[in-house]
Structures are given as C-alpha cells and as structure tokens.
C-alpha cells in the first residue's frame, strides 16, 4: 500500500528518500557515539595506568630508602600505595580491556612483592634471611615494575590499534553512505523531472497545434500529482479555447454592427418596393388588365426573394457555429454570399468590384462561417480605405502544383504605412476611431486554425492586397 503510494507520487518519493537518508545518518551517528564511548574507556585505562606507574615509582623509591637506611617506616608507608595499586589492577581486570594472562602475570609478580614487604615488616626472619629478603625485594620490585610497564605498553598498542579500527569504520561508513545518497539524489531528480519534462514537451506540442490537450497516460503511473497538474492545464486549455471562440463570435457581431447601415438599406428598399406596388395594385386593380396585374405581383415576389436572400445571408453569417463544424467550402460561393451581404455597403462606398473566379470550383476544408468572417473583415477594411471610391478586386485561384487555394483581395486605397504594417495583426491595434483592433487579429487566428497563411502586400499610395492561402481540398 505504502510502496505503491511512494512510487506513484512525488510526495511519497520524497518521504521514502528522506526516510532512507535519516536511517543511514542515524546509524552513522550511533556508530560515532559508540566509538566515542570506547575512546573514553581507553582514556580512563590510560589514566589508571598512569596512576599505577606513579604509585609503583613511589613504592620503589620507598623500597630504595628502606634498603639504604633499613627504616621500616618506609616499608609501612608503601602498604597503602600497594593496596591502591591492587584496586586499580582489579578494576582493570574487570574492565576487560587488558588481556587476561598479562594481568594475571603481573598480579603474581605483585603478590610476590607484596608478600615480601609484609614479611619484612613482620620481622619474623633471621639476619641471613634478611639479607636474602633484601636482595629478593629489589628483584621482585624490579620484576613487578617491568611487568606493569609491559602491560602498559601493550595496552597502549591495543588502544592505538582499536582507534585505527574506528577510523577505518568511519571511512567505510562514508564510502557506503555517499554513493547511496548520490543515487537517491539522482533517482529523486529523475523521478520528479521526467514527468515534468513530459508535460513541458506536451505543452510545446499544444502550442504548435500538434495536440489539442496534454495526454495524462504516460505520467499517471509514476506521478499522481503530475496527473492532477495535467488535468488542471487541460481545463485551462479548454477555458482558453472557449474564450477564443467567444472572442471570435463577439468580433463577428461587431463586424455585423458595421454593416447594419447597408443591410437596413438593403431590406428597406425591397420592402418599400413591395409596399408601393401593393398599394397601387389595390387602388387601380379594376383599371388593369390581367398582364399588368400579373407583372406587378411578379415584382412583389421578386422583391420578397431579394429581402429573404439578405436575411438568409445575415443569419448564415451571424449564426454561432461550433468551431469543429468543418465542411467542404466552395470559396467562390462563399465570396459570392459575402458580397451579397456587403452589396449595399460596397455600392454606397461608390466602389467598383471586379471578381475573377476560375471555371472549376475551388474548395477547401473549413468552417464557412468563420472564413466568411475573415472575408467580411478584409473587405470592410478595403471599403474603409477607399472612402473616395476605387476598385475592389477579388481573385480566387487554385495553385494545383502546391495544393493551395489562393484568394487575393485588393483595394486601390492609400496603402498601409510601413510603421502600421508590422502591427496590423496585433490584437487591440487600430488606426480607426471606432475600431476595436480585433478584426484582423481574429481573422489571423481563424486563418491559422485553417492551416492557412495570410500575407499583406502594400505600398503607400499603391493600394493594399491581402493574399490568403489555404490547403486545397481535392
């Protein structure tokens, strides 16, 4: 349970790694504390040897005085010191730091020496014995001292050896811990970085338009936090896309606002024709012959068709289609409908139109409503550039060798100044008092979504041409 949690989340991996590091450092610290205790023991051993040596020297100097002056008080003064030496040796024996046979040897030597001194103090000996005892005393003292010194030096050697061992253990611990920590570090970085790198790659692909969302699958098993992050990013992408569609629709309604004058005119004219014809017909119906009446009724029907056509165009254009609603689009037909929508706008600007369509229909794949929005934007811009009249030229052709459909919309207006040119597709950039600066930026977005390209060819005083290219649908 914990293991799968540990391997599936960044949180779990961090906890696991830190636990491992904590355990290792705890062990190392315990080893260090143990070594310190050991060293402390050794130091106390060295101290007690120092004590013992000191006492032995004192005893031997009393012994020397006794031998020289035969003052027994000197010997009596050694008893306390010898007892101290005995206690220290017993303590050393129980501490187990010094090898047993060493200390046993020394103890025997000590007993011999100790007994001899007692004998000498008790005075139960003859004159000859006294001389022998004096010689022995010197020899036994010497032996005991030698034994104590050799015990001391061997203990010192042992301590040195053991402290070398501790050093070696510390080095070995470092040699083991360092690679483990380094490995944990490397794995941790890889565990955390791999899914993040995957996400970064996917985001880049989304930005290039190769993906529409970030896939969750590859990272889900190793990083559940990453799956949550991806989920949030995908929701954000969706929200952005929704906002983008709203912007396109809002911009479309704004473009529609600009053509209301023309559309009102275009609808009121047939209505006026219908109303006038009907009134005359009602007034004079009895004075007319059949043909005359039929002619007038025909006029009414034609005018109704005309109004219906305008309303249909308007509805087609303003309807919010789903962005995924892609169909085959006949560019010639679409331009024709667009010109129908803008007919009056064009007529009122006093602009002539020249339309060059190929014999064969040119079709592309796309969202006709959004494509029409692009054409309306460009044509309205062209009309605004030709306030004093001019010529609007629209040419459609299929460039078969490149599998491309090309539409050129040209005006004979004053052209676009160089300083303005580089900004024309930027959102909110406008040169008009009533402009929003969204028309061309939204158009650019739409063309790019259709895998198309939009180019502007303009020289001040030479007019402007918008050239649009889309992949041809065969």
């Amino acid at each position: 349970m914990f293991i799968s949690f540990a391997f599936r989340t960044i949180y779990g991996k961090l906890i696991l790694s830190f636990s491992i590091i904590c355990i290792i450092s705890g062990l190392a610290a315990m080893a260090a504390i143990y070594s310190l205790y050991k060293v402390e023991d050794k130091i106390s051993v060295i101290e007690s040897f120092y004590e013992i040596n000191q006492r032995i020297l004192e005893v031997r100097s009393s012994e020397k005085n006794f031998l020289l002056y035969e003052n027994k008080n000197e010997l009596i003064s050694t008893i306390d010191k010898l007892n101290e030496i005995k206690t220290s040796m017993d303590a050393l024996e129980t501490s187990g730091i010094i090898t047993n046979h060493n200390i046993k040897n020394c103890k025997t030597e000590f007993e011999n020496y100790y007994d001899l001194i007692h004998q000498l103090i008790r005075k139960d000996y003859s004159e000859i014995d006294f001389n022998n005892l004096k010689i022995n005393l010197r020899a036994y003292g010497h032996d005991f001292m030698n034994c104590a010194m050799s015990m001391d030096s061997s203990a010192k050697q042992q301590i040195e050896r053991e402290s070398r061992n501790y050093k070696a253990i510390a080095f070995i611990l470092i040699l083991i811990i360092l690679p483990i920590c380094a490995m944990i570090g490397i794995f941790l970085a890889r565990w955390i970085m791999t899914p993040l790198r995957e996400i970064r790659k996917a985001v880049a692909q989304v930005m290039r338009g190769e993906l529409s969302y970030i896939p969750v699958e590859p990272t889900k098993k190793i990083c559940s936090e990453c799956a949550e992050l991806i989920d949030a990013l995908n929701k954000m992408l969706q929200a952005l896309e929704d906002k983008h569609q709203q912007l396109i629709q809002a911009e479309k309604l704004m473009a529609l606002g600009k053509v209301t004058a023309g559309i009102a005119h275009e609808i009121n004219n047939p209505l006026n024709n219908i109303s006038l014809t009907a009134e005359i017909l009602m007034e004079d119906i009895s004075n007319m012959d059949c043909d005359e009446r039929r002619g007038m009724i025909h006029d009414i029907i034609v005018q109704v068709d005309r109004a219906r056509e305008i309303v249909r165009n308007l509805l087609d254009f303003s309807r919010a289609r789903k962005p995924t609603d892609w169909n085959r689009v006949n560019l010639g037909e679409l331009i024709h409908n667009t010109l129908g929508l803008l007919k009056n706008q064009i007529r009122l600007s006093g602009v002539e139109t020249e339309l060059n369509l190929p014999q064969e229909p040119v079709t592309i794949m796309g969202n006709s409503s959004q494509l029409q929005q692009v054409f309306v934007n460009i044509i309205l811009n062209a009309l605004q550039a030709m306030k004093d009249g001019g010529k609007l030229r629209i040419e459609i052709k299929a460039v078969s060798e490149q599998d491309k459909a090309m539409i050129e919309i040209s005006d004979t207006g004053p052209g676009i100044p160089h300083a303005v040119m580089e900004h024309i597709f930027e959102p909110f950039f406008t040169t008009k008092h009533d402009g929003t600066g969204l028309g061309l930026s939204v158009s650019y977005g739409i063309v790019k979504e259709h895998k198309g390209d939009i180019q502007v060819i303009s020289e001040p005083g030479q007019g402007t041409t918008f050239r649009l290219e889309f992949p041809l649908w065969l």
Binding site: A264, N268, N272, L276, T277, E279, L348
Partner: protein, 132 residues
C-alpha cells in the same frame, strides 16, 4: 393651364419606385419624369425646371444631398423631398438645414408621400399665383 401642370422628378436607383410613383402621380394629373441614374437626372435638371423633386439619398454616383444643393442653386422655388432606406437623425437634420421640404424613411405609405406632395404643390401653386 399647361403652366399650372405640376412637374415632378423622381430619382431613385430602385426602378420600381420610379415606375410606381409615375403611375400614381400621372393619375393625379402631374407631369412625371423618372431616373435611376442620378447623373442623368442632373443633366435634365440643368435643362428643365421641376416644381417638385423626389430623390433617394444613397445612390451610386451621386447622393441625394448633392442633388438637393444643385436643385436649390438652379431653381430655388423647387421643393425637394428625400426618401431613404437608412434614415438617421443627423442626416435628416442636415437635410432640413439645407432646406429640404421633407424627409421620409423607406418603406413609406403612398398616402404619406401624396400628402407631402399635395402640401408642396399648394405651396408651389400659391407662390405662382402670387407671381400672377
């Protein structure tokens, strides 16, 4: 008596407007001329005087406002009535400032236009009577 015949000029790029108005006002005994091209109409205005001019506002070639100005220059007595499919307050007030007789939005009822023309006619007649 022939001097008393009211001469009406209708300029509208919608041919049906000219056709119907001609039918209606000829019946009322007026002399009616219609044009769909405002430039042709201007040529005629220069040669001939009309009592009443009914013109569309937005037309290809020349707009109703220019016709109003030209007519007033050539024949200040003529009454100009503007009809338009896209009536806006500021264009209407501009037209009135320039001395238009009336300004009516399309679609209009024939009765409405008839009344206005009758009003204009009585003005024209009374003025010509004064001259007599």
């Amino acid at each position: 008596m022939s001097d008393q015949t009211i001469k009406l000029l209708v300029i509208d790029d919608e041919p049906i407007v000219g056709k119907r108005l001609k039918q209606a006002f000829m019946k009322m005994g007026m002399e009616v001329e219609t044009f769909t091209d405002p430039r042709e109409a201007m040529n005629t205005i220069k040669q001939k005087s009309f009592d009443i001019v009914v013109t569309d506002l937005k037309m290809e070639g020349m707009d109703g406002m220019t016709i109003l100005e030209e007519v007033q220059k050539l024949n200040p007595k003529a009454k100009v009535i503007i009809i338009t499919g896209y009536a806006q307050v500021d264009t209407a007030s501009e037209a009135f400032r320039k001395g238009v007789f009336d300004f009516i939005p399309k679609p209009f009822r024939l009765e409405e236009l008839k009344n206005i023309i009758l009003r204009a006619m009585s003005g024209a007649l009374s003025e010509s009577n004064k001259n007599i």
